[in-house]
Symmetry: C2
Subunit: 218 residues, 2 copies
């Protein structure tokens, strides 16, 4: 599958490398590919991951069947507008971002919650995209290697309005090793998933490590 990852931070790199290793054709979208290539460690990373091509947001999105938003929640909507609605229309758009607001320090608050969510904002802004929210409740390593924690005995949530899109994303999650993928329903359920973050950041503060996850025991 042709997959564009938006964002070249740790989450974007981890997802890109994993998806390429699974045989997908992976591009990474960034604001300015030349500037990104100059960043510390980026040239080395691209040399180690020759299957991954660095492109502008719009070019990456235009050539992809699935677009994965791995940018920070604060800039996600702006980045998606840079991709262009026409390059997202009809496509599976995987939103893994969290609307964290660090302006008052740690722990962050959420810039949107309770009566709305980033997942819903993305779907409203790009009504022709098939938005699926997932992977926002674990760190980058666990996203793609869930079995490194308790043999994978923890839960990944998905939600979205398009059943076909959720099935396609669930198949990718399963290829990462996720065995307990829990479909919460429509994109409105993103509120529950994003509002788990205030607890996640507190647990991260307590443990001093992101090597944990939630299981829904039932």
């Amino acid at each position: 599958m042709q997959i564009a990852i938006l964002g070249t931070g740790m989450v974007g790199k981890t997802l890109a490398a994993k998806l390429a290793s699974l045989g997908h054709v992976v591009t990474m979208g960034t604001r300015d590919p030349d500037a990104t290539r100059e960043r510390d460690g980026m040239a080395a990373w691209l040399a180690e991951n020759r299957g991954v091509t660095l492109l502008s947001f719009a070019t990456a999105a235009a050539g992809a069947e699935q677009v994965w938003n791995a940018t920070g929640g604060k800039i996600s909507l702006e980045v998606l507008h840079q991709c262009g609605a026409e390059n997202l229309a009809g496509k599976v758009l995987v939103d893994i971002a969290n609307p964290l607001d660090f302006s008052a320090g740690f722990p962050p608050t959420l810039s949107v919650c309770n009566h709305d969510s980033l997942g819903e904002q993305v779907q409203r802004a790009f009504p022709a995209a098939r938005v699926v929210k997932t992977l926002n409740t674990v760190n980058a390593t666990l996203m793609v290697e869930p079995q490194t924690l308790a043999g994978g005995a923890h839960t990944m949530f998905v939600c979205g309005d398009d059943e076909g899109a959720k099935a396609a994303v669930t198949a990718v999650l399963q290829s990462f090793g996720w065995s307990d993928v829990l479909d919460l329903g429509g994109i409105g359920q993103a509120r529950g998933m994003e509002m788990l973050l205030p607890l996640w950041v507190r647990l991260y503060g307590k443990f001093g490590s992101p090597a944990f996850s939630f299981a829904v025991v039932r």
Copy 2:
């Protein structure tokens, strides 16, 4: 121990019966004991639980070493004011309520979150009480019988500013059967615990049953 349970709903009854069965001297606080006694099923419940005495909020709190708030989050602060600050001062005050707002139907939103929490509001309103937030993430049955789900392999959170109060409450939780009690820190951590509820209510809607709980896998 002398324990006052505030509230006579399902949560209050379940906690009162369990604590009495463990040998504690249990009272239940209510607005108008005579009116509560007339309610459907209450006389029969009191006949079956002869160790539990029904009193006014203030009388129940005055005679207790620990006060457990099992009222709805919407009325908790008002009920605690009825108890009287002088009857809560110096005491362990266990807050298990959630600030759920059902005014727009199901799923409810939170009436306070993100920059504050009900647990913090309670501690600010009664600065001499030793507030411990816990048990807000499971239903009444699981609160007191955690081992009926997955042999107890799930997590209960506690937070509060008073270490001695948290230790006392943790001991009670362990006597219920909780083996994974996770201390998140001060009462400000109640934000993370209460913001788990939007996900809890969605899972309840999906499963059609409250027989589930969260485990922090680490």
